[in-house]
Amino acid sequence: MKTLINIKDLHASINGKEILKGLNLEVKPGEIHAIMGPNGAGKSTLASVLAGREEYEITEGSVDFDGKDLLELSTEDRAREGLFLAFQYPVEIPGVSNVNFLRTALNEIREYNGQEQISAKDFMALVREKSALVELDSKLASRSVNEGFSGGEKKRNEIFQMAMLQPKLAILDETDSGLDIDALRIVANGVNKLKTPENGAIVITHYQRLLDYIVPDFVHVLYDGKIVKSGPKELALELEEKGYDWIKEELEKAH
């Protein structure tokens, strides 16, 4: 069976400090993988490196994304190939309307893939359909990107953009942070509705709570730049109960 993304022995550093120290991960179509781990383990670094943030230096390893060498692609080409990052802290962009930039994005993605531009009518229909999916007020859809949005609205807007762009692989970076239970449910619902047998998701989270709503096929523990433990969804519950010290102790015993 083909893989969506295959990360092998990935090492990445920033300002000379190594954060990822040999990370391996494989995601197949239709799968949801959760990545959990304590603060500073490298979870957000992984998300940034995959999305193409230029501050990070890749020192070793490879990432195959649906047959392409991901690390050779620019940030925008990664998006055009079907990678999507839902930001932990979405950026506010005054004066740039959500729908305006999404139309540009969608059309540039289509152009890259040799498809025709979307008509204004089809685009607006898509906006209506997808904003309903994440219960995002259509007024917010036409407002400036994230400007003056509440924390929950920003996260919903991330999922709305994901719905609009229909990526092959979505990386959700701590999408649950700062969300109350209702917002969490709406965001998770959106993600679940977007799931198909062809696409996949990497859900990065600190807490097990989100995984009650987005049920993962695999749970991985990221610790000190590596995945140190993988297991079925029950692993998340065990982590919630015992904390990360348990993993640390296990690792120390193994040495």
Partner: protein, 415 residues
């Protein structure tokens, strides 16, 4: 005597100009004469000209060129229904202009006297002494103009010097819009030195939309002087889209209570362009409001100046005055000198001013790129949004469209 006349660069410059045949006040002329005689062009040691050099002006090869244009160039059409008044090289082209007298409630005359006193400024003085032509437009009381009056200022030929004087009297309860735009036809190294004097009387509303869109190596200086009376509303929007060297001096005296003043400006520069906006709002009466927003995007080796002064005089209580200047520098070689100034002598006022200068938000660029936008599109979108903040506040949609088109043609931005 003639020996001493040629002593200064300004004298040499003046010797190539033709003294005005236009009828303006003798006292104004006397002041201009006295002011100019023996004087030198200001230098960067003068506070008012600290960041703007006049060498290019003083070294200008001046020629007197015949009129060449047969019709109004297409790029000078901004509003489809506007009444057009055309100047070529500062000379009124009656043959190309609409007959403004046909418009109900508008008076038009070819003279340039106004109630303003002499202003101590070289370019203002030159415009008095060497005025190439002058017109006065009166908007009669209670007249509400449906369509704007468009003053089209065209430079043609090489080294032409235009010094038109435009006087606008907006009488009580009148409402009118003027568009003033500069263009050029086969011209380079031309100087436009324009004076616009406007008297906004009680309860009158006057808007001036100024579009500066000269292509090549042309220079312009604009001196706008405005008096505002009780309950009046004055707006001036200065859009600098192109041109090699531009200086705008906007001066508004708010003499009456309950008046509103709005100053908007947008300047987009590249290459070696230089754009200098000096504004002065003088609050002489209480209970007034003024808003000022200027935004600039500077690329290449271009330089910009913003100097916005707000005076609140001793008895001008309950003034709300807001001023803001924002700049984005797109290249390492672009420069902006921004200086907001507040001078407040009253004690019960609400005034604020702010100035920001920076680069485009790189986090925003990255964010947009993660959505599939190319770096170029992302930057265009951010710049467009930055300038769009000014454009969206302009009421005349034809003016906005024109500016958007000009910017999209020059920079590939889409609004």
């Amino acid at each position: 005597m003639s020996q001493t006349l040629m002593n200064t660069k300004l004298d040499q410059f003046r010797s190539k100009l033709t003294p005005s045949k236009v009828k303006i006040d003798q006292t104004l002329l006397d002041h201009a004469d006295a002011y100019l005689s023996g004087r030198e062009f200001p230098t960067t040691r003068d506070e008012f000209w600290k960041y703007t050099r006049l060498t290019k002006i003083s070294n200008l090869e001046i020629n007197v060129n015949d009129s060449i244009i047969q019709s109004i160039p297409e790029e000078a059409i901004i509003h489809p229904n506007a009444q057009k008044i055309v100047f070529e090289n500062g000379v009124f082209r009656k043959d190309l202009s609409d007959d403004i007298l046909q418009v109900q409630g508008v008076q038009f005359s070819e003279k340039g006297s106004s109630s303003f006193t002499f202003q101590e400024d070289v370019f203002y003085a030159l415009n008095c002494k060497y005025s190439t032509d002058a017109i006065t437009i009166d908007i009669e009381s209670k007249t509400i103009l449906k369509d704007p009056i468009h003053l089209i200022l065209i430079s043609s030929g090489d080294g032409s010097v235009s010094m038109p004087r435009i006087v606008i009297n907006a009488a009580k309860f009148s409402e009118s819009e003027f568009i003033v735009s500069t263009h050029n036809v086969n011209s380079q190294n031309c100087l436009s030195n324009v004076v616009i004097e406007a008297d906004v009387q009680e309860n009158a509303k006057l808007t001036i939309n100024k579009i500066q869109n000269e292509k090549s190596s042309n220079f312009s200086v604009f001196n706008e002087r405005v008096d505002q009376a009780l309950n009046s509303c004055f707006t001036i929007n200065t859009l600098t889209l192109n041109g090699s060297w531009i200086r705008n001096n906007v001066r508004v005296n708010v003499n009456g209570q309950n008046a509103e003043t709005h100053l908007l400006g947008a300047y987009v520069t590249n290459e070696n362009q230089h754009v200098d906006n000096h504004t002065l709002i003088d609050h002489l009466a209480p209970n007034c409001q003024s808003n000022e927003l200027y935004k600039g995007v500077l690329d290449g080796k271009s330089t910009g100046v913003f100097n916005g002064k707000v005076f609140v005089r001793k008895d001008a209580q309950k003034i709300n005055a807001f001023q803001s200047n924002g700049n984005v520098l797109l290249s390492d070689d672009a420069t902006i000198n921004s200086k907001p100034e507040l001078e407040i002598y009253a004690d019960d006022v609400k005034c604020s001013h702010g100035s920001t200068t920076g680069q485009l938000d790189e986090d925003a660029v990255y964010y947009l790129r993660t959505r599939g936008l190319s770096e170029k599109s992302a930057r265009h979108l951010l710049v467009t949004a930055f300038i769009g903040d000014v454009l969206e506040k302009i009421e005349d949609e034809h003016v906005v469209k024109y500016a958007e088109n000009a910017l999209s043609m020059r920079y590939g931005w889409s609004f």
